[in-house]
Symmetry: C2
Subunit: 276 residues, 2 copies
């Protein structure tokens, strides 16, 4: 008999959490979303959000998620503890901690969930004008392992060049790409949380080489409501990422995730530690 893990999407397998009661959950790291020295940060963020969504007291939909990557996550089992810090009429505030046996706190997070309500709507920003995904080449991942294979990425501009630079050169940090899960999967909030970290570290895009780096903290604001995610379905998202400054061992990075029909689904921001 096939293991039921083999029947589900790799994302759903990676996000499987066993409820232990009192806001505690148990899960396992996923080989499919492995990065160089630990899990892909996006999958860790999605797990922190999934635990909030699975909490019996949770009302409303995700509005904001901040994930602090405190230390390395080792391959294997982890526990996630979710605490409702404040239960308000319009918003709930959550704290989340991921621990591993004998290793202390690996990841902390805070999340805001918000009551569904219709209000004034005004989208001030507009998506960039880029060719349709079908007109763009899929990023070549030959020889690349890990989480990158869980996404289909089609760059309109700013595709990272993976070869170590020989001539020093500083490039723009702007990337615009179509992106979706592999295989296609209807969008939900955990998937959107993971996608918000699917933008290659800007240091690589700008400088061409990649010294030791690690995201220190990642914040995602979910601007779409559940109906907006349903409209998007399993389509391509249009991602835009850029950076403003690299100095004193850290750089910032911001991203937008647009629906295929031009709705801003989420924005995200992170600060990245780099060694040199």
């Amino acid at each position: 008999m096939p293991d039921d893990l083999t029947l589900s999407h790799p994302l759903d397998a990676a996000l499987r959490l066993e409820a232990l009661g009192e806001g505690r959950f148990r899960g396992r790291t996923s080989p499919a979303y492995w990065n160089m020295a630990g899990p892909f940060g996006g999958i860790t963020g999605a797990l922190m959000l999934k635990a909030v969504l699975d909490h019996p007291q949770r009302r409303g939909r995700p509005v904001a998620l901040t994930v602090n990557f405190c230390g390395a996550v080792a391959e294997g089992e982890f526990q996630i503890a979710v605490s409702l810090m404040r239960d308000g009429k319009s918003t709930q505030h959550w704290n989340v901690e991921m621990r591993q046996e004998g290793r202390g706190v690996a990841t902390t997070a805070s999340a805001v969930t918000g009551a569904e309500r219709e209000t004034w709507v005004h989208q001030a920003a507009t998506p960039p004008v880029v060719p349709r995904p079908e007109a763009l080449a899929r990023m070549d991942l030959t020889g690349r392992t890990g989480w990158l294979h869980q996404y289909e990425m089609r760059y309109a501009t700013g595709e990272p060049r993976w070869t170590p630079r020989t001539v020093p050169e500083v490039r723009s940090g702007l990337s615009q790409m179509w992106v979706r899960d592999v295989p296609n999967r209807p969008l939900d909030y955990p998937a959107l949380a993971a996608l918000s970290d699917s933008f290659i570290i800007r240091l690589l895009v700008v400088r061409g080489d990649l010294p030791p780096v690690a995201t220190a903290t990642l914040t995602t604001y979910f601007l779409a409501n559940p109906a907006g995610l349903e409209r998007q379905g399993a389509g391509y998202l249009l991602g835009v990422a850029d950076t403003k400054a690299f100095q004193h061992g850290f750089h910032d990075q911001s991203a937008e995730l647009w629906s295929e029909d031009g709705e801003l689904l989420a924005v995200s921001h992170q600060v990245v530690w780099f060694k040199q």
Copy 2:
């Protein structure tokens, strides 16, 4: 004899914390930084950061601060508890909670502090070109109370119009302003944390009216090192703020804070709840 509170800057008076040991601190809300229904969010953020900086185990300088405004802060005493979640070589991760007697958790925060290290420097973004502060009118605060009076603001563009709109109109959410503490005060990280929330809620700028609103969560990345803050001293900061989308009861808002000589000192992002 004058109370020593009267001898210090209002910001330093507002940020005064009494150490109670084991990472706990006691303070009082400041009338000078009062907002409509509670303290100015920036002063609350600055207090959460100040408590981290005052923690005996803290090494390095602030890199990131996320402040979650969970519930109303009442006038009077509060306690702040700081926990070192993970102590790494390059970064320390902190959790912070502000409580008031009999009222539960008012505010949570997470912070990252980072070791000082010189690395590659590249400022990809550039400050906007605006007239010098002396050439711009100071924002008229006649009839306005509270925290706004603790800042000198000189708008180059996007000054909020405080009159309720009669003709429906949607304006740009972009503001560019020179801003500094009143009275002038040498910049430090808590002051920068407060300044990162000194941008009027974009809903007012865009729509002209102001229904009930509240920042749900605010994240600031400190890109400057202590030497950068020292270079800035008590000069004007150039602030830029904008927004991308208003929908389903929330809107995003982002800001940049530039030094007087064009260094990007901090970026900040927030999501704002609004009623209608």
